[in-house]
């Protein structure tokens, strides 16, 4: 009995010592997993890594005794490559948090790995709302935007403005399907009709066949459920085939500032788009964006994805500080992130819902005419703001298994 008690005591003491040693562990490794070389590399890519670097510097964590490492890798938009890197990072490199992970197909695959290994993913670049819906996990926070928000903000606005018949040109993978599905729901709910859709392979260069089909459908709105280079080529070639001149309207369901920059205002003017961040919103966003742009090789302003990497990572650091050290327990860290309200210079005040969805306002923009723009990167006019709690899917509609406990 005596032995028993002392063993118990010793065990408790050891557990306590181990616990406090863990709590005092102030090392963190951040991994930015993004598209560094393909069609999405301008909206994430090196800019996402730079944003993470700036978050580490601005957090002041180093002064508080933290040691933070940053690594990044190119997932080439391939889910198999991405999951291999994610496993390697978590198992061998001891990465604590995966940032960006753009491309919905990649994100959904990495989502499973992160859950299985009890790590953390703060997703900024992927669009699919499934990440916080049926596929939600206790280890993932979806920060910047999602297909539900895009569909409700852009889709509803266009139907309200009279665009009640739709035809979709959709990228043939998880993201395109989710965006088309979510937008269709909004169009139908607002009293509109979807006439048809065509699916194109990811990273196509010629859209004329698809545009001709959209033109023949006579739909008032041609919804582009694609992104990056696919969207810019669709818009450019639509102008060539006289689609807008013929009275049909293009809807860029997911358009980044890098796309508008690439198209030029002559082609892009008048397009509506939704975003949760634009560099020219207030003094703080302008100051951040200026610092960011100065350090970019292409001198580009940050996209909302890159801004999301910055803000998401800062919030993660806040959670670690509140925990008093790095517990190396993904679910615990994410739970802490959900406990603390979000508040940062780029996205404003908000919360993270129990399903991992970060809430902040969504903005509806219109691309300026060349005459209205004061210079490069002065591209958007704000036409509407949706508060965070209305912009994203309400918890009552969420199919996230975490909510059914």
């Amino acid at each position: 009995m005596k032995h028993c008690i002392s063993a118990l005591f010793l065990g408790t003491a050891m557990a306590f010592a181990a616990g406090s040693a863990l709590a005092q562990d102030k090392t963190v490794k951040v991994g930015v997993l993004t598209d560094n070389s393909g069609l999405y590399s301008d909206l994430g890519g090196a800019g996402s890594t730079l944003a993470a670097q700036m978050a580490i510097e601005d957090s002041g964590m180093a002064a508080k005794g933290w040691k933070i490492d940053l690594i990044s890798a190119d997932h080439q938009n391939k889910p198999d490559i991405a999951t291999t890197i994610a496993r390697q990072w978590i198992d061998v490199e001891k990465v604590d948090v995966l940032m960006d992970v753009l491309n919905s197909g990649v994100a959904l695959a990495v989502n499973n790995v992160v859950k299985e290994k009890n790590s953390v993913m703060i997703n900024s670049g992927a669009a699919s709302s499934d990440l916080t819906n049926a596929q939600c996990t206790p280890n993932t926070v979806h920060w910047t935007y999602d297909t539900y928000m895009l569909a409700h903000s852009t889709g509803a606005a266009l139907v309200k403005a009279g665009g009640d018949t739709w035809y979709f040109i959709t990228a043939d993978y998880a993201f395109g399907a989710a965006l088309e599905r979510d937008t269709t729901a909004v169009v139908l709910a607002s009293g509109g009709k979807v006439i048809g859709s065509v699916k194109h392979p990811l990273n196509s260069s010629d859209f004329s066949s698809f545009l001709l089909q959209a033109q023949a459908s006579k739909a008032k709105i041609i919804g582009m459920a694609n992104a990056g280079g696919d969207t810019t080529n669709t818009i450019k070639q639509a102008a060539e085939f006289g689609i807008v001149a013929g009275g049909q309207k293009l809807a860029g369901l997911l358009l980044f500032i890098s796309d508008v920059h690439s198209l030029g205002l002559n082609v892009a003017q008048g397009l509506n788009l939704s975003a949760t961040f634009y560099w020219d919103m207030n003094d703080q966003t302008r100051a951040f964006s200026k610092r960011f742009s100065d350090r970019m090789k292409t001198k580009a302003m940050p996209t909302m994805v890159q801004a999301g990497v910055y803000s998401g990572l800062l919030h993660y650091f806040k959670a670690l500080e509140a925990l008093g050290g790095n517990p190396h327990d993904g679910a615990k860290e994410v739970a802490k992130m959900k406990e603390i309200p979000t508040d940062d210079t780029l996205f404003g005040k908000g919360i993270i819902q129990p399903n991992g969805r970060a809430l902040h306002p969504a903005y509806l923009f219109e691309v300026k005419k060349p005459a209205e723009s004061k210079g490069p990167w002065d591209y958007y006019k704000l036409i509407g703001t949706t508060p965070g709690d209305q912009a994203f899917r309400p918890l009552s509609e969420s199919a996230c298994p975490l909510l059914k406990k």
């Binding site: 699916k199 066949s209 023949a216 810019t232 450019k236 070639q237």
Partner: protein, 287 residues
């Protein structure tokens, strides 16, 4: 039915690019025995030269059509002189690896400075607008692309198959030593041929600049399809590559209409079928 005509025409437009690019590849392979994987990269360079000409010197599209192939052609000839010529007589694999590496380096450099989204290049004023053909709206620029590439393709074919210079070239491929004995400078001819093939790719790049964004990866996206075109047509066959280029554009266009999801694989399915039935390609002769 109307939609079908439209898709056929659109297919022909894409076919023009395939034809121009595969023609250059066929010329280079036929004369130099090099599988030029850098072809997509020089196509991209052609588009970038057009962009720079417009934005730095103010020279528009028509000048670009003339200057870009020459500039990029010279770049190609420097490549051939400094690197490719040392691979003469070695296995195909060496040339393939060298040019593949060159392509990656060139694309990487452009991507580093210009990002991946690309730069805008407008359609020249003379070719803006379109015609209503009844069954479709044909942008004038696209019509121009088809006609212009057809002319270039036929001119190249004529140059190589029907002129004295072409005869020297073909002879030099068959038996370089003998042709040299007749006093023809064979190495210089080979360099010029590589320059010609590369110039054709750059020309296609200029043609494509107003349609697609001028992007560092524009060639990488296209080159694999073009290789399939060359394999189907028969390596080294000039006429074969022209006809297959246009034909595959049309087939791909039809696929986009009937089963769009398969549009980027149909060319490879065809390639497999052709290789199974006729391993030398449709117009190729057994070596």
């Amino acid at each position: 039915m109307q939609a079908l005509y439209a898709q056929l025409l659109v297919g022909l437009i894409n076919g023009s690019f395939y034809a121009l690019l595969s023609l250059g590849l066929a010329v280079i392979f036929g004369m130099l025995n090099i599988i030029n994987f850098a072809h997509g990269a020089v196509y991209m360079m052609g588009a970038f030269v057009a962009y720079f000409l417009l934005n730095l010197t103010g020279l528009g599209y028509w000048w670009a059509l003339l200057i870009a192939p020459i500039v990029v052609g010279i770049f190609g000839m420097i490549l051939e002189r400094t690197m490719l010529q040392w691979l003469t007589g070695l296995d195909h694999l060496y040339g393939l690896l060298l040019t593949f590496g060159m392509a990656l380096i060139i694309q990487g450099v452009f991507q580093n400075y210009f990002g991946s989204s690309g730069l805008p290049y407008a359609i020249p004023d003379e070719l803006k607008g379109g015609m209503n053909l009844g069954f479709m709206f044909l942008p004038i620029y696209r019509g121009w692309v088809v006609i212009f590439s057809l002319i270039v393709c036929i001119a190249t074919w004529y140059l190589i198959e029907r002129t004295r210079l072409g005869a020297y070239l073909r002879a030099a491929t068959e038996n370089p030593t003998l042709v040299r004995a007749f006093g023809v400078n064979v190495p210089r001819m080979i360099t010029l041929t590589y320059g010609l093939g590369v110039g054709l790719a750059a020309l296609a790049g200029v043609l494509s600049a107003p349609i697609n964004q001028v992007r560092p990866l524009m060639g990488a996206d296209l080159i694999i399809v073009v290789f399939a075109v060359v394999v189907i047509g028969g390596m080294g066959s000039i006429m074969g590559s022209i006809i297959t280029g246009f034909a595959l554009g049309v087939i791909e266009g039809l696929t986009k209409y009937f089963y769009p999801e398969a549009s980027n694989t149909v060319v490879f399915v065809l390639m497999v079928l052709v290789l199974l039935v006729k391993p030398t390609g449709l117009t190729g002769r057994a070596a």
